[in-house]
Symmetry: C2
Subunit: 172 residues, 2 copies
Amino acid sequence: MTADQTERDHWLDGETKIADAPDKHGDETHLWLRLLTCTTLIETEIRRGLREEFDFTLPRFDLLAQLERAENGMVLGEISKRMMVSAGNLTALVERLVESGHITRTTSPSDRRVQIVTLTPFGHSAFGEMAERHRAWLNNLFSGVSAEERDVLLAALAKLKISVRQGLAQER
Amino acid sequence: MTADQTERDHWLDGETKIADAPDKHGDETHLWLRLLTCTTLIETEIRRGLREEFDFTLPRFDLLAQLERAENGMVLGEISKRMMVSAGNLTALVERLVESGHITRTTSPSDRRVQIVTLTPFGHSAFGEMAERHRAWLNNLFSGVSAEERDVLLAALAKLKISVRQGLAQER
DNA sequence: GGGAGAAAGTCTAGGCATAAAAATATGCGT
DNA sequence: ACGCATATTTTTATGCCTAGACTTTCTCCC
């Protein structure tokens, strides 16, 4: 039992880095590490689920999620912006998804620099199944947080996001 | 000006994925994407700073941060747990840090399976410089969030972390 | 039209990350 | 002492990711 637990419980907390530090009021580092820990724990679990249940990766899933919401396909550059990854990264990712039959890629007739990527019917249905499980996983992971607390979190993160974007913008 | 802005502002929001979706009360997916967006924005900025100012990577920095807090070095497995990365990953990471002179690695005399990694004086001072800038970057990115809001966030994330760990534990 | 420059994407080199299997070392029960 | 399970790390096979250089294509201005 204990041996089984260590399998998935084997990670200590990333926060342990500074957990012993004095809990200073307004310590950004502490807050950042806690944020990072939460995100990493959730993300790792989702990656694991996708891999074990669907033999799929998170970047692939994210790309399908983008296309799912675009009626007539998407341009590569647009995908890059929305997924927050470099364009160079997408070349291989798209290539593999084309090979596996989830998407198609065509050169735009009006501008031959542009590559248009669209979901195939197979890709659409595959995404549907995965998205359903994805929601269930999140539901489970968030089940210990009440709806009110979620709203608090959502609002607090909204403020943080604005703050971060301002910080990034100012830097120039 | 606009051209300059797009350089660092070029990312749309990852959240845009579902931003148009009905703002259902208690939508875990929405909350998750917002969490992920905040983390990604901050993490990307930190990676950029480390690379541009110190020609360093975040995993390297994180590893030094672990060692900084361990008086007599750390065992590889312990580092793996604390950094939440696989052991196989560390082999190359440690190798490069040894080459660059930031750390040393020795085999434990009492158990020759075990590798003990310690910070060199150079590694210690290098980390100090980077950590100072690291704090400054976070300070900037969080500057739009008041101390009270930070406390709210810290507490909400604490609850989330517990929820996530429970969800992971139950799953068996 | 023709060329400068911008835009879209690809290519290359390098680093980070995992899982799964293998190598090495320890240690315990008998 | 022997053998087998266990613990620690490395190796191997893949995939993700970035930056920076490069190619192709388009646009705009002359």
